[in-house]
Symmetry: C2
Subunit: 150 residues, 2 copies
């Protein structure tokens, strides 16, 4: 009896490849996959990769990514590859890159920052450094390590 | 360009199949897979299943299950199938069944229960009902819904 597990081809959907090994579950969190998410999906972890050593891969049927989802994935898996599948074919392939400005995803950890006041203001962070990621709040100018806001 | 994702055969490890759709991520939590877990592993979600409608599958290289891990999986994925893989072959296949007594995994939600006293006592629950699961604490005799302790 041979053991083999194949993930069937998806007709339409999204494949996120070259996620840094160990970060794939966080990508599922960002996309809210698991629990009640109804579509067929797959997470492969610590797959050997020539480019990045060990990589995770996320594959989701009937799902397209929104801009804020892509920006959030870019924070934890910069340089991941984003494939759009239509009718069993890769119709678009791109690199997920950290934008220069991150809007509305993260919350400034400074309690006195105007973005945390009662009147809602959309958070904005400038990417100051990329490896490791350092952000600067557009309002209070505090410099923030990514690990402090994720 | 065709898109196909295959999960390579594993030489040695564990496959947990027929997990109720949506519960696979909780199985990864129980086994502490993700983040720093170094082995190749896979989670497939909402795979069509004749037996249970939609199922999740977890596959982990170089991992054997311990008894308390199996008991904890039984709580959230009763009747899952547990395959032990050695040298690319399924050498053991069994059903993960809820035991009659669950020891040391759950914490009694009754703050006055002796199992929550300063002197550590190993928690013990008798399985009173199986669908849905209802447990009785061996010490304070409180009847507990599974959702209150997971």
């Amino acid at each position: 009896m041979k053991e083999e597990l194949k993930v069937k081809k998806i007709k339409d959907g999204t494949v996120i490849d070259h996620i840094k090994g160990g970060m794939g579950r966080k990508v599922l969190d960002i996309l809210d996959i698991g629990g009640n998410f109804p579509e067929t999906s797959a997470l492969l972890m610590n797959v050997p990769s020539k480019r990045i050593g060990k990589k995770d891969i996320v594959k989701i049927e009937n799902k397209t990514l929104k801009k804020d989802e892509v920006d959030e994935i870019a924070l934890i898996a910069p340089n991941a590859t984003w494939n759009v599948i239509k009718d069993y074919k890769v119709v678009k392939k791109s690199r997920i890159e950290l934008p220069d400005l991150i809007e509305g995803i993260l919350k400034c950890p400074n309690p006195k920052c105007i973005s945390n006041a009662d009147e809602p203001v959309k958070s904005k962070f400038k990417v100051e450094e990329r490896e490791p990621v350092k952000l600067r709040c557009n309002y209070c100018e505090r410099i923030i390590d990514l690990k402090d806001v994720l």
